[in-house]
Subunit: 135 residues, 2 copies
């Protein structure tokens, strides 16, 4: 493993860096997740975006249950080395576990959050109703 | 203030939400910052992106010293209501205090972070050499 990997600054968020996921073709921002050093290493080594789930306190291969894998095309980091911008090809109709193409499906409109797009798929058909399996 | 504002979940990052800043015209991701409730309120009310600086522990109007203001065009939030995607018109040649158009000016290339674009301006000419004034 190249020592450059260790240049990332995981100290500001208790061992995590922010990871912005962007569609490599459309440039749409699809989701924001967090990676610890192991998740980042897995992401680089496998080519599939892998996060650290703060709610489940474990590594989380995006798409492990849904099949909606994020295939890494490019990885950039910012001036402070504490955030990642990962451009991906998103397999499947949507990244959001609620059924939308992007997790950012609500826009602020006159002081209220309003859905700004229709669902791309039925999340119940993909995830079922099991709690904690929505990845 | 509309009560919908309070739907944002500031609890996961000790009072902050992640804010991804994207150029509204080119869709380039320019930077990632953090907002507390007051910074978010200021951003909405003024129309200029305002962050909470974790290093300086205070509100930070982006561009307050450089003039490189981020004019808000659209605000979206994600399924978990703990991240914001803010599309902006970025005034000035670059968002990054190191002189680049975007803070994400380094790409992972064979295990090393490499600069992937030239500087857009000379940061010393804009910020001088005063520590803590690079906004």
């Amino acid at each position: 493993m190249n020592p450059d990997f260790n240049q990332l600054d995981f100290s500001k968020l208790n061992g995590l860096v922010t990871a912005v996921i962007q569609d490599h073709a459309t440039a749409r921002v699809l989701m924001v997740g967090f990676m610890n050093e192991e998740a980042f290493r897995k992401t680089v080594e496998t080519g599939y975006a892998t996060f650290f789930s703060r709610s489940r306190n474990k590594l989380w291969l995006k798409g492990e249950s849904s099949g909606h894998i994020l295939v890494v095309k490019n990885i950039a980091t910012d001036c402070d080395l504490d955030a990642l911008l990962i451009q991906v090809e998103a397999l499947g109709p949507g990244v959001c576990h609620e059924g939308y193409q992007s997790c950012f499906f609500r826009q602020l409109d006159q002081g209220e959050w309003k859905e700004s797009e229709p669902r791309a798929y039925d999340p119940a058909a993909v995830y079922g109703s099991k709690p904690g399996s929505k990845s």
